[in-house]
C-alpha cells in the first residue's frame, strides 16, 4: 500500500483514504484568456530554451562519434557514417595536453573534488555547529566576522592570495586542499548554521544524560541528523570543484582536471584540433556530474533553500 493512499493518525493507525488520489488544489486565480495567453507564451519560450540547452549536447554526441576527416569534410548536422563508439575508449589515451593524458586529468578531477568536498563540508559542519549550539564569549564575534566577510567586498585579494601560495610553498601542490579547510564560507555556513540552530535541545541533553561527550554528540548524533544538508552541500561542492577550471590554471598547473584540460586542449590545438576527440572529452567530462546530480537530485532540491534567510 503506498503511503500516498493512506492517512496516518495520531494513534499510529493507517487508514485508507476514500480517494486514491490527492484532491486537486482549488485554483485561486480565475484563468482568464490573458492568463492563458501569458502562460502559453512562457511555455513556448521554455520549450525553445530547453531545446537550445539539450540540442547542442545531442549535436556534440553525434559529432563525437565521427572521424576528424568526416567532421571537417561533411556537414556537422549529418549523422555519423560509422558510429565510432571506440572514440570513448581512445579519448583516455589520445587526448593529451602538456604531458597529461585524459585518464590523469580524470584522476586529478576526482582527488581535487573529493578532497575539497570532504575537508570543506566537514569544517563547515564544525564551525556552524559550534557557533549555533554553544554559548561562549567569542560566539557573536565569530558570527559577525563571517557575515562581514560575506557582505564586505574586498577586491584584488586574488593577487595577494596568489603570492601567498609561493610563500607557503603550496603552489602547484596537492596541499592546495588546505585552502578549503576554513569552514566559514558564506552559503555553506548559513545553511548548516540554520539547520543546527533549528534542532531541538533535547537531542543534546538526552545524550549528555547518557554520558556522551561533546565530540561524541557531534559525530554520532548531530552529523547523522544533518545528513540532508550535508549531502546537498557535498553535491554542490563536488560539482563546483569538478567544474572549476580557474584554480588549476592559476595554482595547480601540473594537475589539470578535466575542465581545465578541455580549455588547455582547445588552446593548444586551435588550428589542428581533433574535433571528435575534443567533443568526446567534453561528453565524458559532464557524465559524472550528471550521474551525481541525478542520484541526489531530490536531496539536493529539498535542501536548496538559503538557510536562515527568510523570504
Amino acid at each position: 500500500m503506498s503511503t500516498e493512499n493512506t492517512n496516518v493518525y495520531a494513534d499510529g493507525a493507517k487508514k485508507k483514504r476514500l480517494f486514491s488520489k490527492k484532491p486537486k488544489e482549488k485554483e485561486l486565480i480565475k484563468k482568464t484568456p490573458a492568463f492563458i495567453a501569458v502562460f502559453a507564451v512562457l511555455f513556448i519560450i521554455l520549450v525553445l530554451h530547453s531545446a537550445s540547452l539539450i540540442y547542442p549536447f545531442v549535436w556534440l554526441f553525434l559529432n563525437s562519434l565521427k572521424t576528424n576527416f568526416e567532421y571537417i569534410s561533411n556537414s556537422s548536422l549529418l549523422l555519423p557514417k560509422s558510429w565510432l563508439f571506440k572514440n570513448y575508449l581512445e579519448v583516455f589515451t589520445v587526448f593529451e595536453v602538456r604531458g597529461t593524458n585524459f585518464l590523469m586529468m580524470f584522476f586529478n578531477s576526482i582527488w581535487w573534488s573529493v578532497g575539497n568536498t570532504v575537508v570543506g563540508v566537514f569544517m563547515g559542519c564544525v564551525v556552524s555547529y559550534v557557533v549555533a549550539r554553544y554559548d561562549f564569549k567569542a560566539k557573536n564575534i565569530i558570527y559577525g566576522v563571517i557575515m562581514f566577510t560575506m557582505m564586505f567586498p574586498v577586491y584584488g585579494a586574488g593577487a595577494a592570495a596568489y603570492k601567498q601560495l609561493f610563500t607557503l610553498g603550496i603552489y602547484d601542490s596537492p596541499l592546495m586542499i588546505i585552502k578549503s579547510a576554513g569552514g566559514y564560507g558564506g552559503f555553506q555556513f548559513l545553511m548548516l548554521y540554520a539547520f543546527f540552530k533549528g534542532l531541538p535541545k533535547d537531542y543534546m541533553e538526552a545524550a549528555e544524560i547518557d554520558g556522551a561527550g561533546d565530540f561524541l554528540i557531534f559525530i554520532r548524533i548531530m552529523m547523522p541528523l544533518a545528513i540532508g544538508p550535508i549531502t546537498a552541500l557535498s553535491v554542490v561542492s563536488f560539482v563546483n570543484c569538478w567544474n572549476d577550471y580557474m584554480t588549476p590554471i592559476i595554482a595547480l598547473p601540473s594537475f589539470p582536471g578535466l575542465a581545465t584540460g578541455l580549455y588547455l586542449y582547445e588552446q593548444a590545438m586551435k588550428n589542428g584540433m581533433n574535433y571528435p576527440m575534443y567533443f568526446t572529452g567534453t561528453i565524458v567530462t559532464v557524465i559524472p556530474v550528471i550521474i551525481i546530480f541525478s542520484c541526489f537530485q531530490s536531496v539536493f532540491l529539498n535542501n536548496m533553500s538559503v538557510g536562515g534567510l527568510k523570504g
Binding site: 512562457l42 561562549f136 557582505m151 584584488g156 569552514g183 567544474n243 592559476i250 575534443y278 523570504g311
Partner: protein
C-alpha cells in the same frame, strides 16, 4: 553536602570540557582565517605600495591604474569598468526578473514543470568549459546556425570575435546559462508563503500580475535583497566566461579579468592589488547603499 560538592565538581568539569571542545573545534578555522583571509587582505593593501620585489614605491601603482582610465597602452580601464557595469546591470535587471517570473510560473505548476526545472539547471552543474564549447560550436562557422544561414544563402559571421557583437554574444550566453539556481531558490521561497494569503487575495479578485507584484515579490524580497547584495559585493571580482571566450579581446575586458591578467599573465601582482584597492573603495559604499535602498524599497513582512 558531599553531593553538592560532587555536583559542583561535575558542573565545573563539564564546563571545562565544553570550553576545551569549543577551542579544539575552532582552532583550525581561526588559524585558517588568520592565514587565508587576514594575511591575504592585509598583504593586498601593502602590495599596492610595493613593486614586484617588495620595494616601497609610494603611490606609483595607484597612479598607473588611474592613467589606465585615460592613456595606458596596456590596459583600458574605462572599457573594463563599463563592461563590468553592463554585466552587472544585465544580471540585476534582466536575469533576476526573468528568474522571478519563471519561478512564479513553475510555482503555478505549468505543464512540464519538472522537466523545465532540470533543463534550466543543466548549465549550473556543467563546467563553463563545456558550456562555452557547446555555445561556441553552436554559433560557430561550422555550427547549426551557420549552416541554416548557408541554406538561406546568407553568410554567418562568428559573433564572438567581432568587436561589434562580442559583448552581445557574451550577454546572450549569460542569460542562456544564468538563472537555473535562482529559479530553484525563488521557488523554494514562494513555497514557504502561507496559502491563506493567496486565498484571501483571490476573494478580492486578484489578477495574476498583481499576485506576482503585490504578494509574491514583497514576500520574497528579503531573499532577493540578499542575492542583490551578494551580487553587488562581488561586482568587481566577477570574471564570467571572458577567459574561455575572448581572453579580454574584442572589447570584452572586465575589471575582474584585468586583475587576473595583471597577476597571473603579466606577473604584476602589485598592479592587480592597486586595481583591487581602488574598486574596494568604490564597492564598500556601494554595498551599504544597496542595503539601505533595498530596505527602503521592500520593507519587512512577517509570515
Amino acid at each position: 553536602m558531599e553531593n553538592v560538592a560532587k555536583k559542583g565538581k561535575l558542573t565545573l568539569n563539564r564546563k571545562a570540557k565544553k570550553r576545551l571542545f569549543i577551542i579544539a573545534m575552532l582552532t583550525i578555522p581561526v588559524i585558517h582565517f588568520a592565514v587565508f583571509w587576514v594575511w591575504v587582505n592585509v598583504d593586498s593593501i601593502l602590495l599596492v605600495f610595493q613593486n614586484n620585489v617588495g620595494g616601497w614605491i609610494g603611490l606609483e601603482n595607484l597612479r598607473w591604474v588611474f592613467t589606465s582610465f585615460t592613456d595606458n597602452p596596456y590596459l583600458d580601464m574605462t572599457e573594463a569598468t563599463v563592461n563590468t557595469l553592463i554585466f552587472f546591470a544585465w544580471n540585476m535587471f534582466v536575469e533576476l526578473p526573468i528568474a522571478v517570473v519563471l519561478a512564479y510560473v513553475f510555482y503555478k505548476n505549468i505543464p512540464g514543470n519538472k522537466f523545465f526545472t532540470v533543463c534550466l539547471y543543466i548549465p549550473c552543474i556543467i563546467t563553463p568549459t563545456v558550456m562555452t564549447t557547446v555555445y561556441k560550436n553552436f554559433i560557430g562557422s561550422d555550427g547549426p546556425i551557420a549552416l541554416m544561414y548557408a541554406a538561406m544563402g546568407k553568410r554567418w559571421v562568428y559573433p564572438v570575435t567581432q568587436d561589434s557583437t562580442s559583448m552581445i554574444s557574451l550577454l546572450i550566453y549569460q542569460i542562456w546559462t544564468g538563472y537555473g539556481l535562482n529559479i530553484i531558490l525563488f521557488r523554494s521561497a514562494m513555497n514557504r508563503i502561507p496559502k491563506e494569503i493567496f486565498e484571501s487575495a483571490s476573494l478580492d479578485g486578484i489578477t495574476i500580475g498583481k499576485e506576482l507584484t503585490k504578494i509574491i515579490v514583497p514576500l520574497i524580497w528579503p531573499m532577493m535583497t540578499t542575492m542583490i547584495i551578494l551580487s553587488v559585493a562581488s561586482i568587481f571580482n566577477a570574471q564570467g566566461p571572458i577567459l574561455l571566450f575572448t581572453n579580454g579581446d574584442y572589447g570584452t575586458m572586465t575589471i575582474g579579468f584585468s586583475m587576473y591578467l595583471q597577476y597571473k599573465v603579466y606577473g604584476m601582482v602589485s598592479r592587480a592589488a592597486a586595481i583591487g584597492l581602488i574598486f574596494t573603495c568604490i564597492g564598500i559604499p556601494l554595498v551599504f547603499f544597496t542595503r539601505w535602498i533595498s530596505g527602503k524599497i521592500g520593507g519587512e513582512y512577517e509570515y
